[in-house]
Symmetry: C2
Subunit: 183 residues, 2 copies
């Protein structure tokens, strides 16, 4: 049960977002720009995977399942494959460039100063652009916020992981925020 009376029964981050809608909207606008907006050379799947990976390392059940299901949806992966990436992405059959970005995201998760110039140089050698590195850092940083918002208030989450898989296509279609309202 959440530590405060959220005045709604919504799961995960949706509870506190509805409790304070103005900050909820700002968070959703940020998620839309980082994860769903198509003006990006990183695919939606790659960006959702970065968020799911950071959430997994932060042990946030709600976020890792919401965004893991979205990564599955975009890539056409099943749950065991996604789980194998979260467990050991270096051994997974995914592109080396994506691995280099997950490495940067993992360091950001620990703290900004854990990122090294060697990690950045490695990602650039594998073809990562400045903008892709920027977005990787900000996505990882943003999930450090989302995860803490969800668990710091002790929100509840559906335990059946299939629930998240079933919702992913709707979220992929609708995105996180109606940007027509954000001028």
């Amino acid at each position: 049960m959440a530590y405060i009376d959220l005045q709604n029964d919504l799961p995960g981050i949706r509870g506190p977002m509805a409790y304070r809608p103005d900050t909820g909207r700002a968070l959703n606008v940020l998620a839309e720009l980082l994860l769903h907006d198509d003006a990006n050379t990183l695919s939606r799947g790659e960006r959702e995977l970065i968020g799911a990976y950071v959430s997994s390392e932060n042990d946030c059940f709600f976020c890792q399942n919401v965004h893991g299901a979205l990564a599955q949806h975009y890539f056409g992966w099943d749950m065991p494959f996604l789980d194998s990436i979260k467990k050991d992405y270096l051994s997974a059959p995914i592109p080396d460039k994506l691995k280099s970005l997950l490495s940067i995201a993992g360091s950001v998760r620990k703290g900004g100063k854990y990122v090294t110039s060697e990690q950045i140089a490695h990602a650039k050698r594998l073809g990562a652009t400045d903008r892709e590195i920027h977005d990787t850092v900000l996505i990882a940083a943003a999930f450090c916020m989302f995860n803490r918002y969800v668990d710091g208030l002790n929100t509840w989450a559906p335990q059946d992981r299939q629930v998240y898989v079933d919702r992913a296509s709707m979220r992929a279609k609708d995105g996180y925020a109606d940007m027509n309202l954000y001028k």
Copy 2:
């Protein structure tokens, strides 16, 4: 020097915010709502202090000085007094309720699951409302993002702490975002 070419010479978070202005604006809207908006029973000074404390624990020089200077500005404190709070807030002559919120913020910084029901109950006994606890958790979580954005990209920051003090009154007046543009 920043790990990527930010195409500007702005210090701290202002560099990557100008590099990607759409996400920069979303971050500034969030900061405005959490820290500057006056529709809050926590004072601006209390909210800036929470941000400065989390940034100090995360060892983010830029953020702890920007927001520490703002806390000083609102409270009328000098730098040694602010530093004494960052170093040992439990021994500082500040209200017990504020100490209980700093304790929650410190746990959020480590990770959402570090917050305990005992910390929440203690804050509530000292008069903290649900909304104040909500905002404390989200402010602390947001600074875990801001700090990682600043240091994960290795941005530069003025080393003379007086620079931050001198800018604080302007920031207090202008806030973080023009909310008239955010409908």
